[in-house]
Symmetry: C2
Subunit: 428 residues, 2 copies
């Protein structure tokens, strides 16, 4: 019954280890005396913890720091290259993958179109080929693999790393994604919903840095949200939090959604839905612009709609505004309910033009309480397609340096070739 600790390692030992590591890693201290000052821990304890971290290679000693009288202390530095991470974000129509260091920087990247509906075997086989290629292209003396992070475009049970009843991923239900990758690469692996990872990426490396209450909204092929509560990701009880795409926005049984329900936001305002609406507008003659694209033999997508809207095609403008109206209505409820300081809008549809964002902004400000919107900022995500893989890297980093995982390091050593690391938190 140790509060917050684990069975074998005393609570205060873990806590002081995390405190010392984070003191250097997050930049508040560079020497042992500074660590003593900023952490309030004793000199002996700081020295002991620093030695532990040096022995694992996570901290390294640099040159001499500034003397406060007497011998100048050696400076300490977090070694972001002690290990490296494989990161990926699987979309419905693409694979984004990369290699990241322990500071969350993407140091190699790969992006390709891919249809997730081919199922988990074919998709993960391809992802493994991509990962293998990235590893093979690395320098000979590259650091060991310390962890893997992967995003999936559907609800994920975080504790087991498996998708659960994902609406747009046929064949993936309960597939053990995390276990497969962990075994293949002999590295601890964490899997989460793609929008959750985008929210983490935005929180740790984007405009949400330092914010406490943030909602990241992805408007791409699907529509979804990632929630930051008090500076941490809120996954919800089953990891299903943020699923605003399947909120019923119209009571119309003819609007079929890929999730099996009717009238969902995503079925009217997602990129997939916009593509279908584009085809109708091209065929019924209401959009000359889209009809011209179709006549060129192009398969119409949401990109044609946003492009047509920025060219001033009235039917395209109408489609974009009507999508923005629906998304804005749901987000106004979210703002009233959650009162965030920041709403970040990302995803391919949102990134394609200003009109959608402008409509969403207008609806939110007119429909939410004044107190809730008084200091609310609504911004576009600026991290581009990397936002998900950056988030995947920080997810792994946060898990690797969490007290429960560090307790396991103390027992078994660094994370290389330790696929079981972090699994205590994963027990059902």
């Amino acid at each position: 019954v140790r509060p917050g600790g684990t069975a074998s390692v005393p609570h205060d030992q873990l806590q002081s280890l995390v405190t010392v590591l984070d003191g250097v890693r997050l930049g508040s201290a560079q020497t042992r005396p500074e660590l003593v000052r900023v952490t309030g821990l004793g000199r002996g304890l700081v020295a002991q913890r620093v030695n532990e971290l040096l022995s694992w290679g996570i901290l390294v000693e640099n040159g001499l720091g500034v003397s406060a009288g007497g011998r100048a202390p050696r400076t300490l530095r977090f070694n972001a290259d002690a290990g490296r991470l494989l990161v990926a974000n699987l979309g419905v129509t693409s694979i984004t993958a990369g290699i990241a260091n322990l500071a969350g920087t993407i140091i190699a990247r790969h992006h390709e179109p891919h249809d997730i509906a081919v199922g988990p075997e074919a998709t993960l086989r391809r992802l493994e080929e991509v990962f293998d290629g990235l590893l093979a292209a690395s320098p000979q003396d590259a650091p060991p693999l310390w962890g893997i992070g992967c995003g999936l475009p559907g609800p994920v049970e975080f504790a087991t790393g498996r998708p659960i009843a994902p609406p747009v991923m046929p064949g993936w239900d309960h597939y053990p994604v995390s276990n497969r990758l962990a075994e293949r690469y002999q590295a601890p692996t964490w899997v989460d919903n793609d929008v959750n990872l985008m929210a983490i990426g935005e929180l740790r490396a984007g405009q949400a840095q330092g914010a406490r209450n943030v909602v990241f909204v992805k408007i791409g092929g699907e529509v979804g949200a990632g929630i930051i509560c008090a500076g941490r990701l809120h996954r919800g009880e089953q990891g299903a939090a943020g699923d605003v795409g399947h909120v019923a926005v119209v009571d119309d049984k003819s609007i079929l959604c890929r999730c099996g329900n009717t009238g969902c936001l995503e079925a009217l305002a997602g990129g997939h839905a916009l593509g279908l609406q584009a085809r109708r507008a091209a065929l019924d003659g209401s959009s000359p612009w889209l009809a011209a694209r179709l006549a060129e033999g192009t398969a119409l997508t949401s990109a044609h709609v946003t492009e047509g809207a920025s060219h001033g095609d009235p039917a395209c403008v109408e489609l974009v505004v009507s999508a923005g109206y629906l998304v804005g209505g749901v987000l106004a409820t979210v703002v009233n309910f959650y009162n965030p300081s920041l709403l970040v809008i990302g995803g391919s549809v949102a990134e394609a033009g200003d009109r959608l964002l402008a409509t969403i902004r207008q609806i939110i400000y007119s429909r939410s309480l004044p107190l809730a919107t008084r200091e609310l900022r609504i911004v576009r995500c600026l991290l581009g397609p990397d936002v998900g893989t950056i988030g995947a890297a920080f997810m792994v980093i946060d898990e690797l340096f969490a007290p429960a995982t560090l307790a396991q390091w103390i027992a078994v050593g660094t994370p290389a070739c330790r696929p079981e690391l972090g699994r205590s938190a994963h027990a059902a």
Copy 2:
């Protein structure tokens, strides 16, 4: 730059003080050796912290504990009667007030009808009379007053303890409620939204005990929600979180809401709205039951609607079902967005009959994603009208025993006659 600490007291000193206090207070240790074992802190440090807490009277020494060989250690007990608290929850139409001990138990209570629209001066004068009466009725040797907690039926800026643009509290905007009570009683005072306090009451003393992600929904005169995120109250960025009553549910400019907008949930499904709808149903002849009540000279309220529904009056059933349908629709969005494990429904309208809850349940289960409702429990609040004052007590207790406030205790002594206590957190 002490992480998590304050200017004058070292971080580890505060942390160990809280750890030792909570070890005894929350029941994981009863003796100094047990504290050493469960906290991982050294013997000397535990002894020092215990002495500090004994000197303030928060811990007391009882008889002898069980010996593990050698002299039996003295047992320690949290002294819930070291101080007492004044607690109140102001509704739109009532004052509920009481005295609580430091374990959150209500030991004296008072409830009366009161119209909050008379404004802050008259309302707080009356509340002070009620508080004075409760204090005067206390035993001569009652413990000193350590704090005050008060709930208001509108958005409250928690940091300053003032209501901000509350829709149904004319004259209250920016009124310094917290400062007034703190000065009058020379005690640290915290003010929050009434539904937030109900959520805290349910979390600490009701069916939500031990739950991590909870939404408390009040359906009374107004409609609102309180959000528990990872076991703690989520107030949102301006303290406006949970304001689901003013979500636009219909696009009908003729449905005027007291907040100034149109088409709000509260304007169609709140108790105030149901009262107006009851009057219409009595006058247009659609409800014989309501017409009979009106003929008796009764002013019709939502209570008559729920009573009529349980008597089987079709128009009353229709009103209740249609309110449930609207509330359920908004809560389905909340469930998809937030993925709580527990939804607690309280408030006078919700408590009056089963049909409303049954309709809400049905809509949520049919409109939310399977993963989000798989283990979702939807229950009625069972704490009755005390839920808000219990929550007020726990709000004060949590603030008094928070590290930042304990740091001030170290400097100035116990909270009696220290209205400034906890104010560091209140600075803008």
